[in-house]
């Protein structure tokens, strides 16, 4: 189990134990954290699981695969620290990861 903190747009912190091997998106959806729609179910095809990765963590995450940056073009208000949470796989290395959920997904 790895602790992930999701900060929703209303500034509420949700710290959840997420099973290793799941994605950050699945951790949010399974725990009913609002603001992650994940319309395509993790297929990197919809850009509705967009998160901002907390400073300090962004560079520690495995690099984006081809296609993620393309999908982020369509995300709502993408920033430099934007990621698709369906592409971040939870592992011990991510213990303490903090992500911010945008005000909307589209």
């Amino acid at each position: 189990m790895t602790k992930i903190t999701y900060i929703t747009h209303d500034n509420k912190n949700h710290t959840i134990d997420v099973q290793n091997g799941l994605t950050v998106m699945e951790g949010a959806v399974q725990n009913d954290i609002p603001g992650i729609d994940a319309d395509c179910g993790g297929g990197m095809a919809c850009a509705t699981c967009h998160v901002y990765v907390n400073e300090g963590w962004f560079d520690k995450l495995p690099f984006k695969e081809d296609g993620e940056e393309d999908m982020l073009d369509m995300a709502f208000e993408p920033k430099k620290n934007s990621r698709l949470s369906c592409q971040i796989i939870v592992s011990d290395d991510l213990d303490g990861l903090i992500v911010n959920i945008p005000s909307k997904q589209g």
């Binding site: 319309d39 395509c40 297929g43 095809a45 919809c46 393309d70 073009d73 369509m74 709502f76 589209g106």
Partner: protein, 339 residues
């Protein structure tokens, strides 16, 4: 007024197979979809991605699956109403009166919602004030390119739509192209063309910029764009065009008096009927204990909903269960020879 035994909302795999099941048991149906093409998410989101869990099909892409389903319903000549969104569903006697945003009206005892995660709508600019100018000087698709002649047009986006329109409109308009990063995801030939036109001064290219402000009294006057390094530029412009792809929205379905839980519609597992008699939900948009969001579940749900439709469409007839392998009636409907 189009009278039909059942109206299907959504032309994705579940909607298509539900149509097949309706026609097979002798009911008429028509299909409405907000996309301009058949196939739903399979065609819009992942046409090239392989799917491995369609029964008896070890591997196929979203596009192949769609084409096979279209082939499967070919004998039936089903009428599609594409690029139309159902806006209103109202009860009138024993029928539902269904209206689309194009003004098409249906009268039917059965409405089957096979809407996936909702209808595909263009993604809009995050800047809220853009709404004020929408369909006047802010557009997310182009119907008549002639209105841009001699004007300044600011295009946002990095995919094929944005690039194709930047190239096309640069012939007769002053074009700004704004994108959030240096890389474009459009076809390489078009990307090269855009860079060439930028070099010739025919397109003003602003990469690593995004819109932060839109201004104008009645008419759009200017747009502020801001770079990653916080540099702000004000662009005078007559029009702003955004091409950020599509997003799925539940839309008007939310107003039809159905029990909705987390963007899905509650149904029973006998008829896949909602809390409204004669309105069914099948595929990803429906929910019930144990629901799996798989295409194969949608097929099963559609088959059962189709049988439920029979009762309301043919109240004086008895439904007879038949196999396609042996039924002469079904073979006639399919237009295949009986043994």
């Amino acid at each position: 007024m189009n009278k039909t035994d059942a109206l299907i909302i959504g032309a994705g795999p579940t909607g298509l197979f539900t149509a097949h099941q309706l026609k097979l048991i002798g009911l008429n149906c028509e299909i409405v979809d907000n996309l301009d093409k058949i196939g739903g998410q399979c065609i819009e989101l992942y046409p090239d991605k392989p799917i491995y869990d369609i029964p008896a099909v070890p591997e196929c892409t979203g596009e192949e699956l769609t084409n096979n389903l279209i082939n499967q319903i070919k004998p039936f000549n089903i009428k599609f109403h594409l690029s139309e969104r159902v806006d209103e569903v109202k009860k009138e006697g024993g029928n539902w009166i269904v209206k689309t945003n194009n003004g098409t009206i249906f009268q039917t005892p059965n409405v089957i919602i096979a809407g996936g995660v909702g209808s595909f709508e263009p993604r809009k600019f995050p800047v809220k004030e853009c709404e004020k100018f929408e369909n006047k000087s802010v557009f997310y698709s182009i119907r008549d390119k002639n209105i841009f002649k001699g004007k300044t047009v600011t295009i946002f986006g990095g995919g094929d739509s944005a690039l194709d329109w930047a190239v096309e409109l640069s012939k007769n308009s002053n074009v700004n192209l704004v994108h959030r990063r240096d890389d474009f995801r459009g076809a390489q030939a078009t990307v090269d063309k855009v860079h060439e036109l930028a070099k010739e001064g025919k397109i003003n290219l602003y990469t690593k910029y995004q819109m932060t402000l839109i201004e104008g009294e009645k008419q759009l006057e200017s747009i502020d764009i801001k770079s990653d390094d916080k540099d702000v530029k004000t662009l005078k412009t007559d029009y702003a065009l955004g091409f950020f792809g599509l997003i799925m929205q539940l839309g008007p379905i939310a107003n039809w008096g159905l029990n909705i839980d987390k963007k899905t519609i509650e149904v029973d597992t006998e008829k896949f009927e909602t809390n409204q008699k004669g309105i069914y939900a099948v595929g990803d948009i429906c929910t019930y204990p144990g629901k799996l969001k798989l295409i194969l579940s949608g097929f099963h749900e559609g088959a059962l909903a189709a049988r439920a439709c029979f009762k309301l469409a043919r109240p004086n007839e008895k439904y007879r269960f038949e196999f396609t392998t042996s039924s002469k009636t079904i073979k006639d409907r399919l237009g295949v020879k009986s043994d």
